[in-house]
Amino acid sequence: MTDIVELKKVNKVFGTNHVVSDLDLSVKEGEFLTLLGSSGCGKTTTLRMVAGFEEPTSGSIMVEGEAVGNKEPFERNVNTVFQSYALFPHMTIYDNIAYGLKMKKVKKSDIAQRVGEMLEMVQLQGYENRYPTQLSGGQKQRVAIARALINRPRVLLLDEPLGALDMKLRKQMQLELKRLQKKLNITFIYVTHDQEEAMTMSDRIGIMHDGILDQLGTPSEIYEHPATRFVATFIGETNIFDGAIHRIDKSIASVDIENGLISGQSDGSFDVGEYIAVSVRPEKMKLSKAPVEGFSLEGVVKDFIYIGSVMKCIVALQNGNEIRMERLAGEVLPGIGEKVYPYWDAQSAVLIHTKADTVFKTIENAPLAV
């Protein structure tokens, strides 16, 4: 698969606001890639730069192998679906969808046929003569998609298109969009702040944070092997332990934390003495009635939260921190107030390089004034 969109060292600065920092991103042809992050992380700005509505302050953007730089939006083979749909209120649905073709001076008879095909694809046959104000949110959404896809772009950019829809409709549209993407074999670049949406629909997810791409990978890579502390805490729930590596035995690392020792799996990129974070997902957490070798965590069961399909258990550790454990409802669990010894399979814990390491090492190595 070739890279259909490539961003190299892209930066975008608005005044004093460094919105996108040194972004390197390659989008494979035919994939569903999602940029995920909270508000202000730079994901929408990145999308707009690919679309042509913003120009990068520095760096290059290539679409289909050509540097697009300052090409106008209409000169690129990409189309955008806006968060607010941006349907033209003074035109009928037919004219809205046909707009792109009209601009390309396609023959009227061809336009009629292709608009018909689009309406059928998004299941809005019969709505040609209505106006956008007469449509519901979900219907407007589908018109926006039809209006973009009728131009047969190689890449479709979607900016939080499902944000304004209610939960049930959202889930429905997520599946429809995914199905559409697979069927048409178009590359989708999707922007959202909803991690569940990203995990459901994407082939790969790029998590952005403060203008930086923290990690790019498949949903399972991101969930099981988060590369940064932010990714670990942003996706799903997790327990984070900060500490320093005490010893590495083959690929099992023993980590020194405030409460004692814990174990985690090293991928080889870690050194003894390095300051790291250890991430353990609640469903990988185990509780034992007796101390476990390699772990010196001790705690008291504090509370249970029942979600229906799962039961969450909150345990208070010696230093007051809380950890969460998750089990399928129905399993036998210790009672409130019972003393437990948390542990886990070393392979289930992920070691994460943190900035703290750089900070601490700098402090350690700083020369003392003589």
């Binding site: 042509g52 939006p73 806006f82 941006a86």
Partner: protein, 290 residues
């Protein structure tokens, strides 16, 4: 009988108290004077210029005088020219203000508002001084050796139109600005995304969506133009009279209030017809309330 809060709106004392004072003012300051003018238009004058209160249609007959017809057509021409020029000048300017960010935006906006604070009569006199044979512009051009004799710029229709445009252009900028503010930037981006050049976007998206601003601006320019006699007087010198001049003359030098009243009634009727036409083509009455 106990009245619940929900019955408030439809009956009784509260309605009277809130609407009453306004209604009284409207009656005394608008309705009664208008009725007086209407009655006067059917009267005539005697040789001593006193009003004779006897029903006659001679005033309305006199309105069909060819000299008067010439003035009507001239008024319409001047008003049309003024309106068209105002649209062409104000449109890009309003677009610019709407698209500028923060600080500069207020500055540009003030440029339009400040003239409202100055007396328009004085400003028109200013133009006369500026453009006169011994005025600033001619003197400057002669000093720069661009012309050898002063240009005759005053006392024609062109200068009158210039004066009208100068006075009335804020009334075009403001509704247009309001229209542009309401224009969703995403629509322009979507249009560009779908393959439209800037010109096509202007034609297909921007103009249709600001049409209501253009309409209400046009009405607010065209109607006053017909009555702006002081601009015609000062800059037109009698060569660019509009209906307003005719009316003014009858009430001032002509001493013929009945004829002046008839002209006024005609002007009011023309105004109402224009507003009705505006409504018919879909103009919004709220934007006129500016």
């Amino acid at each position: 009988m106990k009245k619940s809060k929900h019955e408030w709106k439809s009956n009784g004392l509260p309605a009277l108290v809130t609407v009453g004072p306004v209604a009284v003012i409207l009656v005394f300051l608008v309705v009664l004077p208008l009725m007086y003018v209407a009655v006067m238009s059917f009267c005539s004058i005697d040789s001593y210029y006193n009003v004779v209160y006897k029903f006659t249609l001679r005033n309305y007959a006199q309105l069909a005088d060819p000299d008067y017809i010439h003035i009507y057509l001239q008024s319409i021409l001047i008003a049309l020219l003024t309106t068209v020029i105002c649209v062409l000048v104000a449109y890009p300017f309003a677009y610019l203000i709407a698209r500028t960010k923060s600080r500069n935006k207020n500055l540009l906006y003030m440029l339009v508002i400040i003239p409202f604070w100055t007396n328009s009569l004085i400003r028109i006199y200013g133009w006369r001084t500026f453009l006169g044979t011994n005025g600033w512009l001619n003197n400057a051009l002669i000093k720069l050796h661009m012309i050898s004799e002063p240009l005759d710029m005053l006392f024609n229709r062109g200068t009158t139109v210039l004066g009208m445009v100068y006075c009335l252009i804020p009334f075009m900028v403001l509704p247009l600005y309001s229209s542009f503010e309401k224009l969703d930037v995403n629509l322009l981006e979507a249009s560009a995304d779908l393959g439209a050049t800037k010109l096509k976007t202007l034609k297909e998206i921007i103009i249709p969506l600001t049409a209501d601003g253009i309409f209400s601006g046009c009405i607010m320019i065209f109607i006053p133009c017909l009555g702006y006699f002081f601009v015609s007087d000062i800059l037109g010198g009698g060569n660019a009279d509009v209906i307003g001049n005719l009316i003014e003359r009858q009430f001032q030098s002509g001493n013929n209030w009945p004829l002046g009243s008839a002209l006024s009634i005609i002007l009011i009727i023309i105004t109402l017809l224009l507003v009705k036409a505006y409504q018919k083509i879909g103009g919004s009455m709220e934007s006129l309330a500016l």
